[in-house]
Each structure stands twice: as C-alpha cells, then as structure tokens.
C-alpha cells in the first residue's frame, strides 16, 4: 500500500445513511447513523497474547475514564485495567484497502470488513430477494485467529462503545444470535454458537469475567463479542454490523427507510445478514473487481475505492407513501440531494442505479423547482426569467419547503447565494445524460414541458434580446434580491464562485445546448433544436474569442478577471455522454473551440499556475482551495476527451492527491473534497468523489 494505513474510511450498507467508519486511531470511528462525521466510538478489536491472559488490540479506542466518572464510587467495576490490553505497534499492522473489502492484519489476528458495491435494482419492478440483499442495513466482518503455531486456546474480541445519546448498550440473545448493540439502532452480532457476547463498564471487564452472569451487566458502556480458537487451529468467525432506524425519519416529507418494509427490527436485520452471510460477502468481494484488474495505478485504485465507500455512507433510500425516494446526503453538511453534487455523482449512479437519477430529477420537478425573473447587475431592472431548481432539498433529515433549498440565501453575492443558473443547467445535464445513457425516452416525453421551460429559462438568462445572446449567462436571478448568483464552487474566489460570465459554467452551457439540439430533434421540436444549435455555436464562439495572448481563457470573461481555472474544460463531459462525441473532436465542427480549450488546459497545468508545489492539481490559479471530485472529473476529460498523455507529471499529481487524503491528522474525515493547500478543510466525509468512476472508461 503506497500510504500509511491509519485513515478513516466508510464501510456502509446501501441507502441506510449509515457507516461503520474505521481506520483513524483513537475513538474516531464506530457505528454512525445519519451523522455528518464519524461516530467517535471506541472500537475494540484484539487478540489474546501467546502468553495468555493479556491482549493486543488495534489502536481504535481511547479511554472511558470520563464516562465512568459519574459512577464516583471508587469501585473495581468502574476502574478499567489498562494493563490488560496493549495496542499492536504500528509496524505490526497491515491494511489491504479495497472497494468492497478492507482487511487488517497484526500478529495472528486478521479481520476484514465487507461492504457492498453493487447495482441497486429498481424497487419498482425489481427482484425482491435481490433488493433485500442489496439494501439490508448491515456490513459484514470476518475475524480470523491463526492459532496454528500455538498449543493453547486463544481468545479474540470485536466490540464497541456506542455513543448514541438516547439509548443504552445491550446484549442481544435471540434465536441463535448473540451480539451487543445500542438501543434499537446499532448492533454487532454473530450466529457462532461458541461466541460469547457481553457488556462491561470497560472492555477488560468483558474479557476477564469471573461470573458469566456479569456479561449481561446492563450498565456496561462497552460491549464485545468474544470468540476463541482452539489450540493449533485457524478459525474464522463471521459477524454482522447492523443498523436500524424505524418510524418516520424526516420532517417536511414523512419518510421511512425503504428497508423497514422488509425488516421490522434490528434483530431481523441481524438474522438476515447472518443467514445470507456467504453470498453477501462474496458479492462484496466481487465489488473489488470494479477497481481491480483495470489499468489503474495504485493511487487511482485507492482513490476510487475510498470515494465509493464514502458515497454509500451518504446514501439514504427512503419511502414516502409507498414510493421510493432517493437521497444522497452531503457529507459533513448533510444537505439532501444537493443538485450540484447529483450532477457529479451522475456517472456512478448511471452505472449502478440509473433509476435513482430519474428519481432525484423527478423530486426536483415535482417539488423543488421555482420560477423567477432576472436582471442585469447594472440596472436591476427585471426581465422575464423562468424555471430553475433548488440547490438542495433540505438538510439533516429536514426536507425544506417546496421550491426552496436549505442553502440559498437572498441579498448576497458569495457563499450561500442562489445557484439558479448552475442548478438549471444541472437539471438539463442530468436529464439529457440520463435519457441518452439509459435510452429511457419516455422520460424525455414525460418531461418535455420541463425541458422546454428549462431551455427557455436558459435563453432568458443569456440576454432578453435574442439577437444579443452570446451563449453565456448574463443575468442574475431575482431571488438573489440584487445580489449575484454563484456556482457550485461556492467557497472559492470569484474565479469559480461567480456564475455570470463564468467560463466553467459557459462550457457547461455549451454541453447542454449540444445535448438539447439533439434531444429536441428527437422530440420533434425542430424550432427549439435549431435555437439550441444557435446557442451552441454562439457559446463556443464567445468562449473561443476570449482566448488571451498568454494562451488561456479567463475564468470570468468580459469582466477583467485574469484567473485561470482547470474546470474550464469540465463541461466537455456532457457531449461525451449525450451522444455528441463528434463535437469533441479537434477536427470536428467545434475544432477551434476544442483546440482553444486544449491550449488553455495545457497552459494552466503548470507549476505556480494550476499545479501545487507537490504536483497536485489546483483548480484555480487564484485560490488554494482545490476540489478532488472535480479534479477526478477533469483528469478524465484531460486524458480521454482531450487525449493528453498521462505522463510523470500527472502521476505525481495523483501521488499528491493520495497524500492529501491520507494526511496524518486530517484523514479522520474519510474521503473529503475541499483541500486547501494539501489540507482537508471542508466538504469532508463526502460523497462526491465517485467522479473517479469515469477512469474506468478510459481507453
């Protein structure tokens, strides 16, 4: 492994908004549901020493002293025996990190966490067994004690100290299942008859129990499953790490987890997960193949696996009135279905669950659209605007009111302002890519009216006078109340933050117009198709004409800006996925445009411009805040669409990117997006990195 092993990673079921996060030292992982960060629980995973009676454990716990202070009785029960368990040394510990498996080894102990990487069948019309297998809210663990060279029995243990504020730890003993859990929400279980589950104030109390009765000590803050290998035996134990939340989980819209249709309690989840253990872990293991056996570098494999795991931890598959409702939460921010993330996760979801793309698009058309007027910054006079879509659908289990996001704030021109044009374009990007990639033309027909409205809305945001349109966004939404719209790059400087006349957004518009030209043709709306074509060409011309003498296109055109940005090329992804690849060719109709962008990217990908000192990509020359999800996307475009070779400089970039993610302190945050000069800084614990899936399509 080309990096230190002690970084956190999600290990998550599909759609349970849950994660068994592990890897960072201390009480930094654990079993979290609906959190924007790791659960910060002590995880106890260890093995008896050869001498016996003492234990060595992975360093995934701190101490429980503070928790025990309230039982201020100076009693043996409340004093942990710290000498009983020591940590394995860093040198002894090995980690084999993959998309579907994460294996840790130290001494004679090995454990593997299995998490699903699998297609999600469309719940409306899918196979129920397959759906249950896919969404059972559990991940899986195998613990192996290699006691072959040892003539005495040895114990191992796997447990945790739950941090849910509302419910206590408990021991689970029901119909062949043993385990420990917290309330009705989380549990670790096994059906191995030889295992013993128990609770104690401290973990040593579970290991060193004189009277078996005391394993049921209800006040115990720590729980563990204790297993044992016979002398000279190598034995593997199977455990499931289960999650559950019943009842309504969101406000604004009353939803339940889709899995509650099939599982009425965590005990039922446990029983199913253990019953189907072997096929389920086989499937997880096969998930590794998505990443392995491809022509990827080690760095790419690592980042793809890491980002996939993080994505699943943010997925939330809900049900409302019998209908499926798909949500991807936005990492530490927990905004729901943030549209400018959806458009990046699109490529992964089209591969694994195209129905979720449709589901989210229709949530936007049904509830999360609005209509505005627009204005030029100089005059503030209102002109006709049109439809757009909200930035998100709410935050942290709170669906926002129809037609509004949790995020957007009126009267400002920076972070938290409206993303009206950005999200309008995103709906069109997602819809056109979805139709093109799935062939679901019925969707286009069903939403023809929205497609037309959205196109007209784009035109209105270009210029009120058709003859003055240049293909770019020129007017801001009235919802900004005299402020200015921003883009998804909300925390960057104006180079990527300002929407109007932004080259990033402009190339995306170009991509949309290309798709619409074709789609309207299919829908037999030839006037609109022609108009889209005009916009397409006008847009390319405008952008091309802004090429400076230094050989770059400024981030914001016509406004004196001189920033240079990598995402100038981002919009090229959409023609690639909407059957418009001919437009991406240097020798094609848009050759001059493509050549300009090639020249631009060649010139900006230089040290001191859009490369950090460590070789990592810097998305804007004027900001130290770089976003990995977008880097992954632009890397694909750079290599696959613009056909640049992948040389030493590019490999060094990926080494830098891996280093960012495995930062000795900040890798607590699992996969994270916003990296300021090499330090994970925001958009942490994030789902968006699955743009890396595009790498699999490279020739």
């Amino acid at each position: 492994m080309p990096y230190e092993p002690f970084f956190n990673a999600h290990h998550s079921p599909v759609g349970a908004f849950a994660s068994f996060t592990l890897g960072y030292k201390g009480a930094s992982g654990g079993l979290g549901i609906e959190l924007g960060k790791p659960a910060d629980e002590n995880m106890y995973i260890g093995l008896e020493t050869e001498e016996g009676g003492t234990y060595q454990a992975f360093p995934f716990f701190g101490d429980t002293e503070e928790d025990l202070a309230r039982f201020a009785v100076g009693n043996d029960q409340t004093e942990g025996d710290q000498s009983l368990i020591t940590h394995f040394s860093d040198e002894e510990i090995q980690r084999d990190f993959n998309a579907g498996t994460d294996t840790w080894r130290a001494g004679d102990l090995e454990f593997t966490i299995y998490s699903p990487v699998r297609e999600i069948p469309d719940p409306e019309g899918g196979n129920v067994q397959n759906l249950k297998d896919t969404i059972v809210p559990a991940v899986f663990v195998e613990v192996t004690i290699d006691n072959r060279n040892h003539a005495k029995k040895r114990k191992a243990f796997f447990g945790y100290q739950g941090e849910d504020p509302y419910s206590g730890m408990r021991r689970i003993t029901s119909s062949g299942i043993q385990g420990i859990g917290q309330g009705r929400r989380t549990a670790i279980v096994t059906n191995d008859a030889a295992a013993k589950a128990g609770l104690g104030f401290t973990i040593d109390k579970v290991l060193n129990v004189e009277h078996e009765f005391n394993l049921g000590f209800g006040l115990g803050l720590c729980g563990a499953i204790v297993i044992e290998a016979e002398a000279n035996e190598k034995k593997t134990f199977q455990l499931a790490v289960c999650f559950y939340r019943d009842g309504y989980v969101t406000s604004g819209i009353d939803t339940t987890y889709y899995y509650t249709q099939y599982f009425s309690s965590i005990e039922e989840v446990a029983a199913y997960a253990l019953d189907r253990f072997q096929p389920l872990i086989d499937h997880c293991r096969s998930g590794n193949q998505l990443v392995d056996g491809q022509k990827l570098t080690d760095e790419q494999r690592f980042m793809m696996a890491h980002s996939i795991k993080s994505y699943y931890g943010n997925t939330q598959f809900l049900e409302n009135n019998g209908k499926p409702l798909w949500v991807v939460n936005e990492g530490e921010y927990r905004m729901m279905n943030t549209f400018d993330l959806t458009v990046d996760q699109l490529f992964y979801e089209l591969k694994m669950s195209p129905w979720t793309v449709k589901n989210v698009l229709e949530q936007f058309t049904d509830r999360y659209s609005y209509k505005d007027t627009v204005f030029f910054p100089e005059t503030k006079e209102q002109h006709p605007g049109g439809i757009s879509f909200t930035h998100d659908m709410g935050v942290a289990n709170v669906f926002s009111d129809p037609g509004r996001s949790a995020y957007e704030f009126a009267g400002i021109d920076d972070c938290f302002s409206f993303m009206t044009h950005e999200e309008l374009v995103n709906w069109l990007c997602c819809a056109s890519v979805y139709v093109s990639q799935t062939g679901d033309e019925a969707f286009a027909v069903k939403h023809k009216e929205v497609l037309v409205e959205a196109f007209n809305s784009m035109l209105h945001r270009d210029h009120p006078e058709p003859e003055q349109r240049n293909g770019l966004m020129g007017l801001d939404s009235s919802y900004t109340k005299g402020g200015a719209e921003i883009t998804t790059y909300d925390s960057l400087d104006v180079s990527l933050g300002q929407a109007r006349n932004n080259i990033y957004l402009a190339v995306k518009c170009w991509g949309v117009y290309a798709a619409l030209e074709k789609l309207f043709q299919k829908l037999e709306l030839s006037d609109l198709s022609r108009e889209a074509g005009r916009q397409l060409r006008s847009c390319a011309e405008t952008i091309t004409s802004e090429m400076t003498e230094e050989g770059y296109i400024p981030a914001v055109i016509t406004e004196g800006n001189t920033s240079r940005i990598i995402p100038a090329i981002e919009g090229l992804i959409f023609p690639y996925f909407t059957d418009c690849k001919e437009y991406l060719k240097e020798e094609g109709e848009f050759g001059t445009f493509i050549q300009a962008l090639k020249k631009h990217i060649e010139n900006v990908l230089k040290p001191g411009v859009c490369l950090f000192e460590d070789g990592g990509w810097k998305i804007s020359s004027t900001s130290d805040n770089s976003w990995l999800s977008k880097i992954y996307l632009c890397q694909f475009i750079y290599r696959e669409i613009l056909e640049f070779p992948w040389g030493e400089q590019e490999k060094a970039a990926d080494q830098a990117h891996v280093k960012w993610l495995t930062h000795p302190k900040l890798s607590y945050w699992s996969w994270s997006d916003q990296i300021i000069a090499g330090e994970i800084s925001a958009s942490r614990y994030y789902p968006r990195g699955v743009t890396s899936i595009l790498w699999l399509l490279e020739k």
Copy 2:
C-alpha cells in the same frame, strides 16, 4: 428568593421523559428528550433596547463559533455579530421559582415557563380529554414586553439552537402555527399571527434580517420566534415548547410513548398545546398551590418545587401492546423503575397517580422477579431463599431481560452488588402502602400468592431455623455468588451500604411486618398474620436491645460497627401509611422501641456526628455522602412521627440544604440527591426528591 437564581431546573411534561431545562448560565439548558443531563443548548431569550437595534438577553447561551467553523468561508453569514446582543446584568435579573411556574424578569421583559403538576388519570377508564391535557408533551411559555413607557415598537425573541445529533433545525409554518424546531423531536411554536419565526447561523441573523425570505434559511443552526410590542403597549405572547418521539422507543420490550395515541406528530402536539393554552397554563398555575399557602418555610417550598419538577422530567409514560407502562428514569443514570427509588417516590405517586404504583408493582411481579437460595457469610452453604425483585428494569430505553436488572453484578460486596433483600422489602412496602392508601383490596387478593411468597422469602433471609429468627436479614442471596448484598445506599460506606444486619433495613423490615400482620388478617391468612406479628416483635426487640451506652444503635448490629445513621428511623414511615399508626406511639405496644429510636436520633443529630458544619444533615457519621431525598423523608419522620419540634437547628439545616442545591457551579445538575460535604456529586438530575411531598402532611 433566599438564593441565587442561576440554577437549572426541569420544566417537563408528564411522562414524556423530556425537559426544557433552564436557569444555569451558558449553553446549559434547552430541550432534551431521554437524556441523563441537560441538553446543553443555547437558549435565546431577549428584548430590544430602548434605543432600538440592539438587544439584551438572559445569559443562557454561549457562542456558536465552533459549530460554524466547518463553513470555513470567511462569509458574513457565518460570523455572528456579538455586539448586537448583550446579557442583562445579574443584578437586573429576578426569578420567581414555583412548582408550576418559573418566572424571570429583567428590564421590561418577563417570561414564565408553565409546567404541569397534576394528577394523572388512570388511562384505563379515565377521561380522554383530561388525559390528553395531562400528557400532551409540551410545556408553556408566556413572554411579556412591557413597552408602556416607551414610544417606539420593541422586539423580543425566544429561541434555541438544537443539539440533536441526527436532525437539522427547521422552521414550522402550518395552519396558523409558526415556530422553529429540530427534526421531528422538539419545537417552540406560537399561534400569534404577528410573530415571525426564523433560522440563522447565529441568533443575530434572525433578528437582523434584511430579506424575510432568509428567515427560512435551512442551514441555520439557531432558531427563534421574534415578537413585537407596539409603542406604549404591554403585550404578552404565548408559546408552547413541544417534544415528540414516534415509533418504538425501547428495546427488550417494544414500547411507544402513550401520547402517540393522541398526537401523530409534533405539529399535532403544537396545535393542541396552543389551542388549549389557557386552561393548561391555569392548571400549571394552580400547581403552585400544592406548595404555596401551606405552612412551609421558603426553603421547604423551594426544595419541594424543585424536586417535583425534576421528578416529572424523569417520567416516561409508555404503551406496550395497548397497555400503559409507567417508567420513572433514574436521573443521570437513566435506570428504569429503580425499585429503591419507587419506594421513595411512592408517597408522591399515591397522591398524584396511584395507578402508576400498581402499574410498576405489576411490572415487577410479571417480569422482574426471581428466586434464589441464601447463605450465611461464614459457611456459604445454601439454604432455601425465595422470591425477590430486581433493582431496576433496565437502563436508557433498554429493558433488561426478564428476572434481571441492569445494575446488579455477581461476586462483589459493594456498589453494583445485589439488593435482593432491599427490593423484596420494597415490593412489600409499596404493595402494602398502596392497598392501605387506595383501598384497592382487589390488588391484595390478586397478588395474595406473591405476598405470601415474599413474606416467606423474608423469613428465609432471617434464619433457616424459625426459632433462631430475630426479625433482621441474616443471609445473603446466592445471586451474589459469595459476595454480599447491599442496600439502596450503594455508594456509602458499610454503615448504610451493607444489607445484612443493617439497622436501616431492619427498621424497614419491622415496618413491613407490621403491615403484613394486618394485611394477612384481612386476607384471612391468620397463621401468616400471627407469624408476621412474631417477626414484628422479634425485630423490635432485637433492635432495641442493641442500644449502646452512648445512646445510639449501631448502623450494623452484631458486627462491631460503630457508625451512627439517620436512616435508622426511615422504616417508621411504613406503619404511618399502612394504618398502623398505633405502633408508632411512645405509649403504645412498641413504646420502648420508639423511645429507643427517638433517643438514637436525638443523639446522632449533633454537630460532628450526623450534622455537617453548615448544619446540614449527614446521613451517616462515617460518610460525607448525604442524600437529600432521604433527608427529606427522615425530616418528616422526625417531626411528624417522632414529634420533635422544628427549631433553629433544623431551620439552619434546610438553609444548608438549599445552599447545596444552588451551588454556584454544581446547580447545573438541577435537583440532585447525593451531596458530598455540600457538593452535588452523584445521582444528579434526579427524580427522588419528591419525598418532600410528605411535608404537606405535617400537622
């Protein structure tokens, strides 16, 4: 008020295991559900200054800087304007603290929190309207702006920053109701049409909003309701503070909150609370009469009100399979229906909700009893034992397995050991008092077998040979696995901690035998009645004969102990409530015994023995750990049963006790039980102090 106002107090609905805790400075109160401590939320309550544009607020919030750090964008939205709101000075702030109302005043602002102190109708056969009024999970607030001397409009605000880890803050706007809340769990609402509810990253953003649209800012961490009084107007606004939790809330037994039968969401709670506002707050106000208008000192009134509020915050009225299930949680420990608390809360519950006593007793007989054998400490040889009851029924929403508590641990002889004899006696105390006070003889007939079993179990724990019985506990339970039983005074030294031969438990046994002698007679079990009578007399003789030359009875008899304890007199409470008052008379059959206890208590209530330097009661001469709930109980016995006058020394004691509870640092913990040398130390946030209700019965 004879004390500083800045102490936390619960303000709680009945049976919702919820509290709007307020009073301690900083983010130390707030809206908590199912917690063992205050929610630690910022509470925002303030008024616009006369100058206008700036505000003064009560000091119940800290800052939100840490929460905002993740939005690391250096944006106006994430930077609070700290200068906008200043705290009222301590000198300006007045508090009027009562059982049903808690009023705060500063400048021209006044607010009152109303919380119920009312009888709970038996859900099986009660009036539904009355039941809904009683258990609606809300408390009530009136905010008054006295703007009569001011010629400009003035705003006030009432809001909070929720700390639930799983869900976001939200604005509630539905059918005439406006409010702010967190997820589906907590909310503050009003139906005043002139009020405005909003969210912001910081509270100043809600007050100083340029565009009304932004009041719906979903990412806002703080929410408030903003109200306004016209020039020269005094205006009162009404708000409800609501709690809700749906679905199953406990494991082990699947239960829901009883109120979910009547209210399907927090919005329905809000609508009901506001609709019934006036009668509900009138009822809360009438709750003050329970404490007022009695011949109580200020100190007594304070402690009674405080303890009642704390009790309700721990109550949890559940439903299981259509049947009511009553739980009182144990403060910071959250153990459920801890039996040695039930026996103290008995007197309050018999007054307010006798059906809950029956309900809990039957939970013990149905699920939480067990049968053991017993042994003498010297030989460990097992002898027949019998039935007893568990210490508790679980912890923090986790019901323990049938026949076992969360607390009890085998193989030890101190804290966490078994309380077999203590809880056996407690079942008999509760059952006999319940039957005697309610006249529910059907209960006694229904549970005749348990009564007989329990009596026999007591006999077996005295001595295997009937002729050697002395009325005291002489053998320990086999469940201790060779350890020793303890009493409810688990964290004290042996003087109160050891059960066997303990004088505290012995006098309680005497009380039980007195009750059983009578009850068996009624049940026409005259042999048993006679046997109970023999035990009764034998017990009194044993105790009386242990009087030392110094005029006290040692805490543990026959074992060389010389501790002196106040709870030697505790057991006298039971004859008082089981129609055996004649046994408590100095001139009666047990005159010698009563005189011995009078002499004992007179001699121990001396400075340096069982009085602290500050005059407070010290329940054991050999421990600094004193328990207020038990002090309250013994004060009643001292005055009402033993007929000692209440002089200056006793008044000084209560002044000391108030000082303990209003400790400048430790009063964060609301009403608390275990006080070590004047410092709240354990059993914090506790329900047990309602033993104070006994004071109302004093002549």
